[in-house]
Symmetry: C2
Subunit: 186 residues, 2 copies
DNA sequence: GTCTATAATAGGATAGAC
DNA sequence: GTCTATCCTATTATAGAC
């Protein structure tokens, strides 16, 4: 009765990485098996629902991990510092625009409907982190919400355009512009 | 010797629609066959290189179609009218945010490397249309280019976020904000 | 909880008739 | 130029030993 080769956290991290790189439809069970170091049967032991369950588990995992990352960033004192920390976390998470967003990969998948709720939740949590910074800076609720939505839109778009053009500078420019404009006077 | 059931233009339009909906990895040959009304062998007659060649043909087709759409929009007299027409065309092309972008679907595919050049070209053409409007309005080249890049980024991101949240209002808000801000004084 | 082996199916691609 | 039929491989998923 051998113990688990990897802690579940690590398995989820590797599934996440594989979905980010190959996409949901593009990630085969063989690939997921290789990348996690688990045999197919072991994967089905963890995730009886197969690939779909792996993806939903990854989303639940992200919900926790990103929640912590957001909380860390928001623990800074000033709104400016909160924003800077959040954008640094975003830059690191996406490797300066070189790593794709799982949310986008799942939105693009044939099984997207199965992920609808956790996806909406994840996008909402992402925007909420920005909105909270806006509120902390004294922006009106509506303004904070609108700018938060726009920030998430720009980050997702920058990832697509960076990957599509091969020019990762667009991601850096986008983050820099959000940093510059997010807390500006209305 | 039966004639072609559909003009090649129509076949390409249907392949485009299928890739947009199912993604590149998610679109099977059976699906592509059904949607075009052509048997698999007929598809291979048109596109000996298989699915990859279908996608590159779709990109080449888009290059022409979008080029015409851009030219039409840019034929308007004032920069404001050019911008309004271009954004109307974008809104229609993406069905108010309900239809995905093929470019994004191909960027997300496992065969993305095979599409790298035409994809970069397509994103560039998209941005160029915006940049030309900026120049027509007297914006400095650098400003026009930066705003054009940002506009494409925002459109792509709005499509991802709209699909991910199920809230298509974000697409309308994004286009409205581009319309409002694109030609603003620096 | 993991493995090897395998079933069952779907996928991409081709052959050859018409 | 299109069709039906088919091949081969990869894929998802399961069985059963350890």
């Amino acid at each position: 009765m051998p113990a688990a080769l990897l802690p579940k956290e690590e398995v989820l991290a590797r599934l996440l990485a594989t979905f980010r790189e190959d996409g949901y439809d593009g990630a085969s069970l063989s690939e997921l098996s290789q990348r996690t170091g688990l045999g197919k049967s072991s994967l089905y032991h963890y995730f009886p629902g197969g690939k779909q369950e792996m993806a939903t588990a990854v989303l639940a995992h992200l919900d926790v991990v990103l929640g912590e990352a957001f909380a860390t960033a928001l623990a800074a004192k000033t709104p400016e510092a909160k924003l800077a920390r959040l954008l640094d976390a975003v830059d690191a998470f996406y490797s300066g625009g070189r790593s794709a967003c799982v949310l986008e990969r799942l939105v693009a998948s044939v099984d997207r409907q199965a992920f609808a709720k956790p996806l909406a939740r994840a996008f909402g949590a992402f925007a909420s982190a920005f909105a909270e910074i806006g509120r902390a800076a004294g922006l009106k609720e509506r303004v904070a919400a609108a700018r938060a939505e726009a920030a998430v839109v720009r980050i997702e778009g920058a990832l697509v355009v960076a990957a599509g053009t091969g020019d990762f500078g667009v991601f850096a420019r986008t983050l820099a512009d959000i940093k510059r404009s997010f807390l500006a006077e209305a």
